[in-house]
Point group: C2
Chain length 263, copies 2
């Protein structure tokens, strides 16, 4: 299994605190030694850092932890390999362009038989089941919507439906973004928390670190953090249900449906 971390915010925000917790799980408090990656969005642009080495020993992970890169959306992943060897091309997150937007995807779980799903526009570079699933998902979105649909909810429902399809093959906890919306789909483990005024302190579970968000934020900030397991010990995280998709925009929940699809 792997660990996922995501963020959606209404103002450029750094993720140093949460990433510090996550990277400990990459070989220190957790077994995920097979690489890590992170994508930071600044508007339409994205910067990615990726390493096929354990995050707890990584020079690049240290930079990301210490250098406050402020962004609107973040997707991060630390890997414990199951399908696909340990290499840079098999390291999440994966990205593709659709409609002139950078889409980024990370996945936790295993999808048995996914490689039988036919691909069209997008082909995987590596050999993971995750990248195959991403290419299939992006290809079906592109086929169904050669141009972006007018209503965001049309696309959200379609993506939710496709996630249900993938879930039939196994475990599919996913983070996906098009640089504006952050799509979170859960089959087993995914939790989120929205922080806004009045801000409070938070204590990391995986490292001795407490942060007082009141000192670091303004009253209008809204920041949602999503993770495989809650990252802090003193806050109430929302645990997602099986089959649930929740979508965030500017830190706020804009779509949330469970098992059965909305009509």
């Amino acid at each position: 299994m792997c660990e996922l971390l995501g963020m959606s915010a209404n103002t450029p925000t750094d993720i140093c605190f949460s990433f510090t917790g996550l990277m400990q799980r990459g070989g220190r408090t957790g077994p995920h030694r097979d690489g890590w990656g992170i994508a930071f969005y600044e508007g339409a642009g994205v910067r990615e850092f990726r390493d096929p080495y354990p995050s707890c020993d990584s020079e690049i992970a240290n930079l990301v932890r210490n250098y406050p890169i402020k962004s609107d959306i973040v997707i991060s992943h630390i890997r414990q390999a199951n399908a696909g060897r340990v290499s840079l091309e098999n390291t999440h997150p994966f990205t593709r362009e659709l409609w002139g937007k950078n889409w980024t995807f990370a996945h936790n779980g295993q999808l048995k038989g996914i490689k039988k799903y036919k691909l069209s526009h997008y082909l995987p570079v590596g050999t993971t089941d995750s990248e195959h699933a991403f290419c299939w998902l992006m290809g079906t979105i592109r086929e169904r919507f050669p141009k972006p649909p007018k209503r965001a909810s049309t696309l959200q429902r379609f993506i939710h439906q496709q996630c249900h399809e993938l879930r039939k093959l196994g475990v599919f906890n996913m983070l996906l973004t098009d640089s504006k919306y952050l799509y979170c789909y859960c089959t087993t483990k995914l939790s989120w928390i929205t922080r806004k005024a009045p801000f409070d302190q938070a204590c990391l579970k995986d490292a001795e670190l407490t942060v007082d968000f009141d000192q670091l934020t303004t009253k209008t900030d809204i920041v949602t953090v999503i993770a495989t397991e809650p990252l802090t010990t003193n806050e109430d995280w929302n645990r997602m249900q099986e089959g649930e998709m929740t979508v965030f925009r500017l830190g706020e929940k804009v779509y949330c449906h469970c098992e059965s699809l909305p009509s």
Copy 2:
């Protein structure tokens, strides 16, 4: 104008020395203050670093300079903006996937009227003429070759032809790679040097630094470095001609033609 830097090697090699020279031009010995980026290939995988800030002051550029990331192919770019505002999405190099390979592109020059060129499969995320040209180039390759052609030379000739087409619009110095071949096209400025045994010392032009490659290499290493302007003072660089495309694989020249296309 911008500065380009590329590398092709037959063994994973770091580019710290050349990058140290290049990054000085990003706001110190040169005027290119509008961002920089670098893509490192490890086999099929790629890692990229990108910053919309001057490379000479960048924390991330410092990491790249000091942390020896060994790779087979590198493409780097420092930017002095002309078309397209200074932002992450307008920062080279640009990447797209074709045939399950990561393609990376960086460009120096200006292409007047490029935005009239119709795009199909690939759309730009930012607003530069360079990314538009890249999307056009990739789209035409994909249309002409839905599957990769059997002979590498067929593709090389086609790309050369498309570069000639782009050159009609202005200045088009380009580095392009599909993770195996490094395509270099010149209209005004591009120079390269191949280093192999017996190795010697090299002195940087833009910083006080000399390196003795004999200490850092093995006898079988072959490393080619390509740059807008020669980076060292004591070596003989090959200056490319107008309309010339030279392609490198594993550090060695595998294609080189000038103005008129090979029949």
